[in-house]
Point group: C2
Chain length 99, copies 2
């Protein structure tokens, strides 16, 4: 039986592939697929962002090899960066509580 951490890793793989198969290269996210993934899977994160060019900016930042698509390595870097931000918030709350 997989652990929660193993299931979390599996979720990252499966979420990515649920969106890459919609158009173009089936192992990479196009800009449209990335936008759909962000809107549906990172709803809370996007909902507090007001910048209409946010998806373009994220795509530019992530697309390390400049092929205008996001491969799995680039996607995991994004999830890791967001998780570090979540952790910073979590630690801040813990410290406030003085636990």
């Amino acid at each position: 039986m997989p652990t929660q951490l193993e299931m979390a890793m599996d979720t990252m793989v499966r979420t990515f592939h649920r969106y890459t198969c919609k158009e173009g290269d089936r192992f990479k996210l196009s800009k449209g697929e990335l936008k759909m993934l962000l809107q549906r899977e990172l709803t809370d994160f996007l909902s507090c962002q007001k910048d209409p060019h946010l998806v373009d900016k994220i795509m530019q930042d992530l697309d390390a090899n400049k092929d205008n698509e996001v491969d799995f390595n680039e996607f995991v870097v994004m999830v890791a960066a967001l998780t570090v931000a979540c952790n910073d918030y979590f630690v801040e709350q813990l410290k406030k509580k003085g636990k």
Copy 2:
């Protein structure tokens, strides 16, 4: 209601902090804590490894700032690297199936 991807990010944060609080710096993993986390949370990954120095090697690789502890950023890099390996395997299986 959080999405599966948001819950996966939450799992990474909570798993890390479940082990950091056991000894030493409560926001970083000592070598003992890292070993316990790997054995309990990445069981399948460790079970196929026969190298008795594996935890030492992982600690050396992860501990970018050489303080003999693993902070959250270093931990996320490890999880990301393992997830990329899982994805490579997943893609290989998909290609074999010719889907």
